[in-house]
């Protein structure tokens, strides 16, 4: 069947606050444009009703502090559930590809969730990936994030997972939220070069956007040969976006979609709700359905800088040659990346802009020659308002070897009563089994 599945969930009754960019109005004009076009009557597009995700779908990805209920609303369950529903339709062969045109977004939500970051609480794409892997035993999945903001949440969740290739093309973190997404962040020691960041200079146009896709992203995907490609389809690279500084047009997005051919696209950001979203969403939908998108020209198109500056050209060429060089070199062995140690350690501080929370984290990955190894995180939020939580999380990878699986379980039994933390989590992805222990100080 060559149908494109669509779940349109504009959440007309959900907002972060009445005037927040994530408010009821966000997809109103997109609704107008897509419905008015009459394309939903086309036999090649099939509209599905949204559904709720299960608690387990979220536990498979996140350590929500203190619990999932505190971090989500029904809208989050629906937004995540919609992607899962399309995932099922894809896997059963009902559709050839799908577009989860939903709010709220999710790509800034990391593994540990103390609050809302960049309008996100839970990560829709990560929940989708883990669901598909757990239910359909898929191994290699690629996520291509085309939101203007670095997909730091998705990067965090799969940073140590060699089976998920995460590629983010975004406006350079030195000039935009969340301030990360540099080329050096290329994956953990067990998943080196499975995390690719392409920070683009402000004022990049369709030309640069597509060039980067064709010369960096596409060869990477060809080489990785994923079983599935997911597109985090943010739309704020658009030249009219109020929160960013890029010059990509609807045609740029549609063309990229047509060439990327994602199996599933999931809406992320994009806050030019009148000038961009109605047209970009339509363009992406048409491209997925294999229809002519070349006539979707936004009325403001003439105002866009259609010609890229020499500086931007030069910068992008440098980026391309950096990655080309990187791919030509033989990557170091896993043992070397672990610096011949059994434990990789990493400390960092994470800021939650929406909720004004500062989180301190220590991550640990245990070296294993046969599998990605046990992952452990210790996290503390020192929020000025409300309660501050200290948690510990243990994660057994879905493709863990039997030794690591045992080791993870032992670790849990040993440490779950550690009175240094408020909460202890076990995420046993291999057995799809999730536990929380409330210790309390």
């Amino acid at each position: 069947m060559s149908k494109t599945g669509l779940i349109f969930f504009p959440a007309f009754d959900w907002a972060i606050t009445p005037t927040h960019p994530e408010r009821e109005e966000r997809l109103l004009y997109t609704r107008d444009q897509i419905f008015e076009e009459g394309i939903l009557d086309n036999k090649s597009i099939i509209e599905y009703s949204p559904r709720l995700a299960d608690l387990k779908d979220i536990q498979r990805v996140h350590f929500c502090v203190p619990n999932i209920t505190a971090q989500t609303t029904s809208a989050h369950f629906i937004s995540a559930g919609s992607a899962l529903k399309l995932g099922d339709a894809l896997m059963t062969g009902e559709i050839k590809n799908g577009f989860s045109l939903v709010r709220p977004p999710g790509h800034h939500a990391m593994r540990v969730v103390h609050g809302n970051r960049g309008f996100c609480n839970i990560n829709n794409e990560a929940i989708l990936v883990e669901y598909l892997r757990s239910k359909y035993k898929i191994r290699k999945i690629a996520i291509v994030d085309t939101d203007v903001h670095h997909g730091d949440g998705t990067q965090d969740i799969f940073y140590h997972d060699p089976d998920v290739l995460f590629i983010s093309m975004h406006q350079d973190g030195r000039t935009l939220y969340p301030g990360t997404g540099f080329i050096e962040e290329a994956g953990g020691p067990g998943a080196y070069l499975r995390n690719i960041n392409i920070p683009l200079p402000p004022h990049t146009t369709d030309e640069g956007f597509l060039k980067v896709w064709r010369e960096i992203v596409k060869p990477l995907l060809d080489n990785f040969a994923p079983e599935l490609i997911i597109n985090s389809a943010g739309q704020d690279n658009h030249f009219t976006d109020p929160l960013a500084n890029m010059q990509v047009s609807c045609q740029g997005y549609a063309q990229l979609t047509a060439e990327l051919k994602p199996d599933l696209a999931v809406l992320e950001g994009g806050y030019a709700i009148e000038t961009a979203l109605p047209y970009v969403n339509l363009g992406i939908l048409l491209a997925l359905a294999g229809k002519d998108y070349t006539r979707v020209i936004e009325p403001q198109y003439e105002q866009a800088e259609q010609k890229q500056s020499v500086q931007v050209n030069r910068y992008i060429d440098k980026l391309i040659s950096y990655w080309h060089d990187k791919f030509r070199q033989r990557p170091p062995e896993k043992e070397e990346l672990f610096m011949k140690k059994v434990l990789y350690q990493h400390s960092r501080s994470i800021y939650y802009d929406t909720d004004n929370i500062r989180e301190q984290q220590q991550e640990y990955v245990y070296f294993c020659p046969d599998c990605p190894g046990i992952y452990q995180v210790i996290s503390q939020s020192d929020r000025t308002i409300g309660k501050n939580f200290g948690i510990k999380g243990i994660s057994i990878p879905i493709y863990a070897c039997p030794i690591c699986e045992e080791k993870g379980k032992e670790m849990w039994e040993r440490e779950k009563r550690d009175r240094a933390y408020d909460l202890c989590f076990l995420q046993d992805k291999k057995n799809d089994h999730y536990l929380v222990d409330h210790i309390g100080k």
């Binding site: 959900w14 004009y29 609704r31 076009e37 394309i39 509209e47 229809k291 006539r295």
Partner: protein, 555 residues
């Protein structure tokens, strides 16, 4: 007393209903001129009845459907203003069109002006092709009809021989393809509608009937005939609506069931949910062209009681109708004959066809019971596929709000209401096989006419107002305009819309005490650069569809 008349392909059924009782039911052959069929039916119904006691006559007619299906409508041409968006080549327009410049955006703002030279060129082309019925359709014309109006006026002035219609007059639905197609068929059937009305009026006068005349719509509601002249398309595909409502009338108020209506050549499946028929989310489609018409979600199968049995390459199969069933004088064995042979139907003696069934079984080298089981299983198999389709339509109804998703608890009913001749037999077989509750109403043969007689007028209006742009629009053709007063809060919008709704309701003879259901009501802050520039309101109201009374005897 109420009269309901359902004009079907082969038979025209009529019923006379008083209170909760069917006083009379008639069946007459359908004639080429539909008004003759109506006359025949009325003649029988009104025998010994005082016509002044009739409160209302409701027709369910195939007039418009047939005109369109049989291409008996004049050729039309479209002048389309797509603006930015999908390629019109890949959309489903019902007739030849010319693309013009000029565009309006989703908020009704002008993006690009019209080029009258292009309009002239296109009109000259249509004139050359002898196409004189012209549709003007512009994307978002419900938000701003200026360009459609400008072109319409230009054409009327310069091509007086043309009949022109604009899409916003026909519908305000947010789907310009459906509006354009709707305009096309409205223009093409309007004259025939007027003629029909004239004839019917004469017929009614002949019978001294001066009660109001209603036409059944595809969504199961009724429309005064005068209003149907303006919206003739609303009356297409009313047959399945009539049967679903008829099935409901013979049951309890909150019935949730599958309605199966098996005719001679086709079988329709519909769904009753809590006493309301399931509607198609996007509306009706005719000849694969989508229309701006609300209709029941119906799943149809090209098989019926008269479907004949054939042997093809040593296997049993189905072939189109060749006549009635063998047991009642037809030429070949049919599905009905199998039902008779198995004892699921008593319309004739199984002895009449025993020989033929045995001969066919022998040719297939199986026993007669094996043969009949095979036939019924094949039929049921196809029915089950269609049933799955209609359940899926229901389960996959889109939801755009959290509360809609949360309230969507959908458990498939296991109750079957059977209508039409062979339905009883199939129903009994189904009941045995699937353990469903099967209901075969007493008036199963004239359920459609009962549905027509008892249907209530319906009205659904979806209101949209943009206070920054000072415009409002609805899904009803021509019901749009400028906001003269500011609507600051949702309550202001509700008050304003309520006046519009009441006025339209009155025009359509809706009962004053009709239950009005709020489908949704919401206000959106239009925020630009951190400031609220206005509000957009959306409110959906509808009268609860259904029937006036439930009949006394269920089964």
């Amino acid at each position: 007393m109420f009269i309901g008349i359902d004009i079907g392909g082969t038979f025209t059924d009529g019923v006379l209903i008083a209170g909760r009782e069917v006083l009379k039911s008639v069946k007459v052959p359908t004639q080429e001129f539909l008004s003759y069929s109506i006359e025949d039916a009325l003649k029988e119904i009104l025998l010994d009845v005082d016509p002044h006691k009739i409160e209302q006559v409701t027709l369910s007619t195939t007039l418009i459907t047939n005109l369109i299906m049989q291409d008996q409508t004049p050729q039309t041409g479209m002048l389309l203003l797509p603006g930015p968006g999908a390629n019109p080549e890949q959309l489903n327009f019902a007739c030849e069109y010319k693309i013009l410049s000029g565009a309006i955006d989703y908020r009704g703002r002008l993006i690009k002006t019209v080029n009258l030279n292009e309009v002239k060129e296109a009109c000259d082309y249509f004139a050359e092709q002898q196409i004189q019925h012209i549709v003007v359709a512009c994307k978002f014309s419900q938000r701003n009809p200026a360009l459609e109006k400008e072109i319409c006026q230009f054409v009327q002035k310069n091509y007086p021989e043309f009949k022109v219609i604009t899409s916003h007059e026909v519908s305000g639905l947010l789907n310009w393809v459906r509006r354009a197609n709707g305009a096309c068929y409205t223009l093409a059937t309007r004259e025939a509608c007027h003629e029909f009305r004239e004839k019917i009026n004469k017929t009614l006068t002949k019978f001294n009937l001066n009660c109001p005349l209603f036409i059944l719509k595809a969504d199961g509601g009724t429309l005064p005939i005068e209003i149907s002249l303006q919206y003739p398309l609303e009356t297409i595909f009313s047959g399945p609506a009539a049967s679903a409502l008829g099935a409901l009338a013979c049951n309890e108020e909150q019935t949730t069931a599958v309605v199966i209506d098996i005719g001679g050549t086709t079988t329709d499946l519909a769904l009753l949910l809590d006493g309301k028929p399931l509607l198609a989310e996007n509306g009706a489609t005719i000849k694969s062209y989508p229309l701006p018409v609300r209709s029941l979600a119906v799943s149809s199968l090209e098989l019926g009681g008269d479907t004949s049995l054939i042997i093809k390459e040593g296997k049993i199969g189905f072939a189109p109708r060749q006549g009635s069933a063998l047991c009642i004088g037809g030429p070949v064995l049919t599905i009905t004959d199998v039902l008779v042979y198995c004892g699921y139907s008593e319309i004739a003696s199984p002895d009449l066809i025993k020989g033929q069934v045995e001969a066919m079984a022998e040719e297939l080298k199986i026993t007669p019971p094996q043969l009949t089981k095979l036939v019924l299983e094949m039929f049921i198999g196809q029915l089950e596929t269609k049933l799955e389709t209609i359940f899926r339509i229901w389960e996959e109804e889109p939801a755009y709000r959290i509360w809609q998703v949360l309230s969507a608890e959908k458990e498939r009913p296991e109750k079957l209401i059977c209508l039409g001749g062979p339905a009883g037999g199939i129903g009994r077989y189904w009941a045995e096989k699937n353990n469903w509750q099967v209901i075969i109403p007493k008036y199963s043969a004239v359920a459609n006419a009962i549905g027509a007689a008892l249907a209530k007028p319906t009205l659904k209006i979806e209101f949209f107002a943009d206070t920054e742009r000072r415009i409002y629009s609805t899904n009803i053709g021509a019901l749009q305009g400028t906001l003269l007063q500011p609507l600051r809060y949702i309550d202001d919008a509700k008050k304003f819309f309520s006046m519009i709704f009441q006025a339209t309701a009155k025009e359509r003879h809706l009962a004053k005490d009709a239950d009005i259901e709020t489908l949704y009501e919401e206000g959106f802050n239009v925020v630009r650069d951190g400031q609220t520039k206005g509000r957009i309101f959306q409110i959906g109201l509808q009268t609860v569809p259904g029937i006036r009374t439930f009949l006394q005897e269920g089964e």
